[in-house]
Every structure is written in structure tokens, then in C-alpha cells.
């Protein structure tokens, strides 16, 4: 017997099972009221994910590297800056985007200690490690040790800034432009921008 007094093969206690049941109930209610069908919901999600990926983040970074006016706007009002590229954070609810800039003296790294808040529209679905309890709990306390495990060794005189994302604010790291990239166009610059660098797990 399970602790709540009946035998059953299904897993209705895990967070994922609870969420699945909620989503199915919500879709059922939408269908029952004629608001939307299951297929409509799936189509919206597929359309969103088809357009969401790290190429968006890389495009933002490459533009900032070649266009100082765009870079200034990106750091001051990132939502306005990405709108100029036809990108948008606000698919379901208003979300503020903040872009934080790496320099010779500063390294930024992003986490969501509560859950897995992440700029999906700009980076695609979050990597598994970003959602792990190990990353979420360790990076706030020992970001240098975590970065070393990612292969990033930082001298003590480089300030490490950890940014804890929430439902209200999402972060994107603006990495440093490669030193040997003079004269490169945006398309070429984009190719070297990795997802991990946009989270701050690479430098």
C-alpha cells in the first residue's frame, strides 16, 4: 500500500505528474468551453519553439558588437533593443529582459535559484544542468568553483556577478568580442557565440 492508502501503478505524486494533470485539466476546460482545441495549443507551442533558439541570442550579441548605438540601447533597455531586431520576450506575460556585459574585469553568470527561469525565446529550452539543484544551489555560493568545472578559470581580480532570474526578469550575458575579429561581419561573429556564453557558463 502506498502512503495515501491505495495501490496504483501511476505516478501522481511527482511534480511532473502533478503538472501534467493540471495541463490536461486546463486543456480539457478550454476544449469543453470551445475556446481552443488540444491541437491549437500544440500548434502555438510548436510555433514558439520553432522560432526560439540560441541563434536569436547570438544575433543580438553580434549586432551589439558591431553597432555601438544598439549596444547602448541593449544595456539600457533590452526589450526595446531586441524589438528592433523583431524579437520579443512577452509571449505569455510581460517579462523584463536585462543584458549584462562582460568586460576585462567583470564576468557575469545567470541562474534561477527558484526553478528554471530562462530567456527561452532567445536561447531555446534551457539545458538540463541549468535546472539541476546542484547548479542552482552552488553557483550562488561558489560561482568561481562552478565556472572552473565549466572550464573557465578566472583570476581573483575579475569580479564575478551572479544574477538570479525570476518570473519578472530574465538575463542574457553580452560576452566580450573575440580579440581577433576585426572586420568580421555579423554573420561571421554570430557563429562563434555559444549558448553557454550567453548564460555566462563560458567566457
Amino acid at each position: 500500500m502506498s502512503e495515501h492508502g491505495h495501490d496504483h501503478p501511476h505516478d501522481h505524486g511527482s511534480p511532473a505528474a502533478v503538472m501534467t494533470a493540471r495541463v490536461n485539466a486546463l486543456i480539457g476546460a478550454l476544449e469543453a468551453r470551445g475556446v481552443a482545441a488540444d491541437a491549437d495549443v500544440t500548434a502555438v507551442i510548436e510555433r514558439f519553439l520553432a522560432a526560439a533558439g540560441p541563434q536569436n541570442g547570438a544575433r543580438i550579441v553580434a549586432r551589439a558588437w558591431v553597432d555601438p548605438t544598439f549596444r547602448a540601447l541593449l544595456l539600457a533597455d533590452a526589450n526595446a533593443a531586441i524589438a528592433a531586431l523583431g524579437l520579443d520576450m512577452s509571449h505569455w506575460a510581460p517579462v523584463e529582459l536585462r543584458v549584462v556585459e562582460n568586460t576585462a574585469h567583470v564576468h557575469n553568470i545567470v541562474v534561477c535559484t527558484l526553478c528554471s527561469c530562462y530567456p527561452i525565446a532567445l536561447l531555446g529550452p534551457a539545458p538540463q544542468w541549468y535546472k539541476s539543484e546542484a547548479y542552482r544551489s552552488r553557483v550562488v555560493r561558489e560561482p568561481r568553483a562552478v565556472l572552473r568545472e565549466f572550464g573557465v578559470a578566472l583570476a581573483d581580480d575579475i569580479e564575478v556577478r551572479v544574477w538570479d532570474s525570476t518570473a519578472e526578469l530574465r538575463y542574457l550575458v553580452l560576452p566580450r568580442r573575440p580579440a581577433d575579429s576585426d572586420g568580421w561581419d555579423e554573420a561571421r561573429l554570430m557563429q562563434g557565440v555559444t549558448r553557454d556564453a550567453l548564460i555566462g557558463a563560458a567566457r
Binding site: R141, E142, R161, L169
Partner: protein, 95 residues
């Protein structure tokens, strides 16, 4: 909006029974206002199912690693958290 960028603040040491966005490791810690954002619905009220949660100014507050983790903090690290106005007290008013 009570605080401006650069103001020194301290987080409340409260330990409420409901949803609350000051993690335990940040309670009664000194920080500095790093950014002032719009007013957002208070997470405590949203989590309780309040259909009209109060709007409060949200701040990004910067904490030195050594303030948050008195033992074993790494050098030259700064942790940033998003905190609502009612979570904060002016640093000057505290002992």
C-alpha cells in the same frame, strides 16, 4: 518607490509561513540597490491566489559574497536578487 540606485538597504529577517521571495541565506543581510524596476504584482499574494495582488516596486539588490556567506565565500563575487519593496529596510535604520 522609496529607494534609488546606490542606496544601502537591509533585507527583512521575517520568516513568514507563506510563499516569500527572500531566500533564507539573504535574510537580514546588507545590500545595495543596483537597479529599480517597474511595479510588479507581489509574489506572496500571487502565490496565495489573490486575484488582485498588490503592485510593488521591484529592485535588483547586490550583495557581496562575504555578506551572504560569512564562512567560505569566494573573493570578489557579487550576488544579485530581485526583491520587492516590502522586503527591504533602509540600512541606516538598523542597528
Amino acid at each position: 518607490m522609496t529607494y534609488g540606485v546606490g542606496d544601502l538597504v537591509r533585507t527583512s529577517g521575517r520568516d513568514p509561513a507563506h510563499h516569500y521571495r527572500v531566500p533564507r541565506y539573504l535574510r537580514a543581510k546588507r545590500g545595495r540597490i543596483e537597479a529599480v524596476h517597474a511595479a510588479f504584482p507581489l509574489a506572496d499574494a500571487r502565490a496565495a491566489g489573490d486575484p488582485a495582488p498588490p503592485l510593488e516596486t521591484l529592485y535588483t539588490v547586490a550583495f557581496d559574497g562575504g555578506e551572504v556567506w560569512p564562512e567560505g565565500a569566494e573573493p570578489n563575487t557579487v550576488y544579485h536578487a530581485e526583491l520587492w519593496e516590502s522586503y527591504l529596510l533602509p540600512a541606516a535604520e538598523l542597528p
